[in-house]
Symmetry: C2
Subunit: 407 residues, 2 copies
């Protein structure tokens, strides 16, 4: 099923995606954007994100849903009906990858356990995102992003930096685990070219995110006995944040002596060049708490634009701070064509995000809009050998659902 | 160069990694943990993270460096010397993947631009992590994690949720971009099995992270004209954070009616079941600000353990909050064997993180300790055909450096 004008690295790969909300859809979006054909299997109620994704012009088409599900096909099947399961088996028999974030027992109840699907299609790469891995006492507990942020140390980094745990205002652990699941699928596809066999991949969110946090912060506790407290003190410093200016915020990183001394001149504190806490890279690293504190109150006298101008003249690393609103208008993003206006067939004019990675071997050329629920039910089943009569009966029996007729 | 007892999906893949600090090493760590042979090329001064990674028992072996660089080999070459460049060419001629986070012009000065390396080895997958992509005005500006957090909207999510921008106390944009770079390399390796050709991959951090943030938060502004303010209000709610108890914090997610009503009973507010703001899923979604506010002050009367016990009895999703110290002692992580004690040959007893993803097709079995600077210079050059005399001359001329002799 290689499509023309679709030249991403995963062109020709067929993915059956039974996942919903964020972690699975983020994974299959990465595959779709890289050229895979992603067939999203939805229950009659649809992916929960169709409703929970904030504002929408039409029911089921929230902005958040659309941004995680473009370049996919939607096939709506009631898998609680045996006839629905059989249709899914037909699709899975020709697929390369299966993705789910359902619990193991729920998958088994639907006849979608690894052993069954491996018999059906020995080449299938069966990918299961779990909240918590097998063998530990949290296995089978429900997964919510906040549950994982709370348990995996993400919230804990804020307790260290500001005295109080908090969540990152992103569905960060879902989203990162989704990226890592797509990574795992790429690796398994590569292995399959040699072994000619599929396999089972399990990605537990809690373990994945704990590793993410601890790689950065285990630090002194890597050693037994520990040689100091846990955590990277520079990253956890309470003043490691955007610096306030007269009219907003910027970020600055004066690291070398040249940069630091130019910075001291610009904030009218030239005497600090001789301060034993700040006179060398080593001294500033050792006294990073003081160095961060010094920065935090130093830029109130000028606007962000004035400071950036001055810092750039002196080659001091600095950067504008973008609010979410500013980000959409960012000049660099506009120059690289990252956000482009396009027209969704049912939702009208929308902003579409371009691909961010460049591959000289080719990228996906043709984008398809985020699908309405069941938009591709009929076409995908027809491609898989179902005749008009079979499809009609399945529709009548509410085994499948389609919005294609209304288009 | 397939190694025995190394059965990860990337077994046999040879990676030459010229990167340093976090973004590149995070990428090559993912490849190494999945079975690739990663040859880390270091300058005589070593990867900066050897020094900046916090506490160490011996110079250059900080905990953070070790946790991002296990399962890799260290080859120390002075690439400013022509003889050093030639040695690197010899290694690259047999490699599958090249990774760098240097600027394009710096790579060209070292004779390591894509065109040169493609001629040397047409199968090479040449991967460059950039701060900002080509074609936009920020191109060639220096990349620091905080610069990207400031510009890409990560800091901006905090302004929405709490009135003030801040950084996540993780080197989050480096770390995520590194994961996505490893994903891209996996996809390119898969494509190469068909095309038999290498390619150039560019991963710009700013664009990558802007897409990460906007996929979640573009929301209402996806539509033209916008149908509401930017940002997912539920995620950005100021009370979307771990909930304080008598002795700490926990996270809770009472979502269904059953869960919410049980929660109201347990906090002795049964009358809320009839409150029009909280009586249904739709009502609680519409009044999420009130619902979060209600939770935040409701758990001060009991300890975390008492609440978790009560919530679990009533099937209300909840989870312990782990400080960084607690995380290392977490019972589930211990049960799955995630953190295991091992002995580093020069650094003594250490905690080593296990693999978090499970592959039925096999995972890397044998782990190698984080290398000392130049630990594998001699063995890797010998494997690539250099004789003892050539190596001796290169050592004397300070083209290469080795710590292997002292072992």
């Amino acid at each position: 099923m290689v499509q023309e004008a679709n030249e991403g690295p995963l062109s020709g790969v067929v993915v059956v995606d039974l996942s919903s909300v964020i972690v699975g859809p983020a994974c299959s979006l990465a595959l779709a954007d890289h050229g895979a054909e992603v067939i999203k299997i939805e229950p009659p109620s649809g992916d929960l994100m169709r409703k929970l994704g904030g504002g929408a012009k039409h029911p089921g088409m929230t902005g958040k849903f659309m941004n995680f599900n473009r370049n996919k096909k939607s096939v709506c099947i009631d898998l609680k009906k045996t006839a629905g399961q059989e249709m899914l088996y037909t699709i899975l028999a020709k697929a390369d990858v299966f993705i789910s974030n359902m619990r193991t027992e729920a998958l088994a109840q639907l006849g979608l356990d690894f052993v069954t699907l491996q018999k059906l299609n020995p080449q299938l790469i069966y990918t299961q995102v779990l909240a918590f891995g097998k063998g530990g006492e949290y296995f089978n507990r429900p997964a919510y992003d906040t549950v994982i942020q709370s348990a995996s140390g993400v919230a804990g980094t804020f307790e260290k930096s500001s005295g109080e745990p908090r969540f990152v205002p992103l569905v960060m652990t879902d989203h990162i685990t989704g990226m890592i699941a797509a990574q795992a699928i790429g690796f398994a596809l590569y292995r399959r070219t040699r072994t000619k066999k599929g396999e089972l991949i399990e990605i537990p969110m809690f373990e994945t995110m704990s590793a993410f946090v601890l790689r950065e912060h285990l630090g002194n506790m890597t050693f037994k006995p520990a040689i100091g407290p846990i955590g990277d003190a520079r990253i956890l410093d309470k003043n490691n944040r955007p610096v306030k200016t007269q009219d907003g915020y910027i970020s600055i990183s004066p690291n070398t002596n040249e940069q630091a001394f130019a910075f001291f001149d610009l904030i009218s504190r030239p005497e600090l060049k001789g301060d034993p806490r700040f006179c060398s890279v080593e001294a500033r690293t050792l006294h990073s708490v003081d160095y961060y504190a010094l920065r935090s109150g130093s830029l109130l006298g000028k606007t962000s634009a004035q400071w950036i101008d001055l810092f750039e003249q002196r080659d001091i690393p600095c950067m504008r701070y973008n609010s979410l609103e500013n980000l959409v208008e960012d000049p660099h993003l506009q120059q690289v064509g990252f956000l482009r206006e396009t027209v969704h067939p049912s939702e009208g004019p929308i902003l579409e995000m371009g691909l961010t990675n460049h591959y000289s071997g080719g990228v996906r050329q043709q984008f398809t809009p985020a699908p309405r629920l069941g938009e591709h039910t009929l076409s995908v089943l027809a491609e898989h050998g179902y005749g008009p009569e079979e499809i009609e009966i399945a529709l009548q029996n509410q085994v499948i659902f389609s919005e294609a007729k209304g288009v």
